[in-house]
Symmetry: C2
Subunit: 313 residues, 2 copies
Amino acid sequence: MIPTQEALEAAMARVAPHVHRTMVMTSQTINALTGASVFFKCENFQKMGAFKMRGAVNAILNLSEEQQQAGVVTHSSGNFAQAISLAARTLQVPAYIVMPSNAPTVKKEAVRGYGGDITESEPTLAAREAAAVQIETEKGATFIHPSNDIDVILGQGTAAVELLEEQPLLDFLLAPVGGGGLIAGTALAGMYFGKSCKTIGAEPFEADDAYRSLLSGKIETNATANTIADGLKTQLGDKNFPIIKSLVSEIIRVEEREILAAMKLIWERMKIIVEPSCAVPLAVVLREKERFEGKKVGVILSGGNVDLNNLPF
Amino acid sequence: MIPTQEALEAAMARVAPHVHRTMVMTSQTINALTGASVFFKCENFQKMGAFKMRGAVNAILNLSEEQQQAGVVTHSSGNFAQAISLAARTLQVPAYIVMPSNAPTVKKEAVRGYGGDITESEPTLAAREAAAVQIETEKGATFIHPSNDIDVILGQGTAAVELLEEQPLLDFLLAPVGGGGLIAGTALAGMYFGKSCKTIGAEPFEADDAYRSLLSGKIETNATANTIADGLKTQLGDKNFPIIKSLVSEIIRVEEREILAAMKLIWERMKIIVEPSCAVPLAVVLREKERFEGKKVGVILSGGNVDLNNLPF
């Protein structure tokens, strides 16, 4: 059920030649504000601008040669579509991307720019899934889920492994919780490479499906999701939920204004561009200050793909 | 007239313990767009968010112990006021900052935050100078000019020295031209530490006083300066102009829309926050592409202090 340390080490070896080993940044201002020592793993500097490149590369490399030749397919309107496209191009594998017909032009262009072959579908989950199944059948392509796939989870976990290689004595690892791939991979890294390192998930109150899932013991969904952390609206899956249940200490929720303030703090003080989802873990550290004071806290800054013409400031 | 290599090496030794050795970034996208290999020296990650920290530290450390005890004074409404305040606090020296009474509250707060002792003056250059002279007389403080001071120039030059230590074979060094301290220091670094490295100044057409100064052979001013590169509105001085005349190969001007496009490119692709002035050298590389194709180009990203509530996007 829970992937082994060897599986995570194998993922490290597989992805390393194809992704950036992103830098770890610190900020004196943020350490002074929080009372903690916060180490930011800057996946906003990752290829295509987000950690999702790691999972995409790992999943594709885990396919057989025949599977790779037939290509991969996913449905996504966001970072994972770009990640699969770029990873597939890097590895010389065809990539078929199902995108809703109403996806923003800028996102379609980004996918095309990375070499993805787009199929448009009606903007419903059912239509997207049907279109993906059709491509699987017609092309013999392998479907890769953005977050509910063990190889994707292991790939995403490599960001936290790298962070722990530089900061082995972290007390906490924090990551945002969207579809569950990043937090599950991060928790695996914390267990295998940390020394009593707790993994905490960070979620908006407005999309707290994972928080409720841990309470109820089954996968919950969001009836609404009015959050600026638009990468965190998705729900957990049957592959990542068992890992999260076993290995994530808890999920802490924050308000929208706290996310916005944390995002602004990162932009203003660290001079880096991060998407709103990235700011959720720092918002947690600021909200529950006593918990983290005097501790070493690792934060995965998940990505930096924001629309500069539509900023929340 | 022209400071010696030994003077620049001494500045390196003096400032190193008190400033960040900022990273050098590259971008595959920007290299593909320009056809050049561009190395960005990220002074936006410098303490207080700009290269000006270097000049401030070097100038203060060059004072005698008695002078340091009496403190330093400058008049500025921008980054240099913050740089002198933080450098002086770091070195335990009093800092008196004359600011125009109409300076934005946020800038006054930043100076106070770094420990500067603010004296407000009428918002004219004459009033600011008079207020500074009064503090020199009353406190025995030493006046430090933001750009027309040999120790400030040498301090600013240390950014380019660090860049050349990492990339010794640069064909070009580019920096924006405001008051002239950064470009003069950069040109000194290029001469002493480069191998046939040309230093080029980058200026907006809307504030091209340095371009015109090189043509006329005397210091020219800007009648108007309608540029988003608000750090570049100031004029050269009698200490830095002779260095610029001798060592800067040329000054290349760019349009406002080119500055904005280059700034957006850096934000979107490099995921870092830079002020508009920083984007002027990249705009030059994009405008005069043939000149830089196939070359190694060093660009000083001067700073990252922007008002997020007032972005040009």
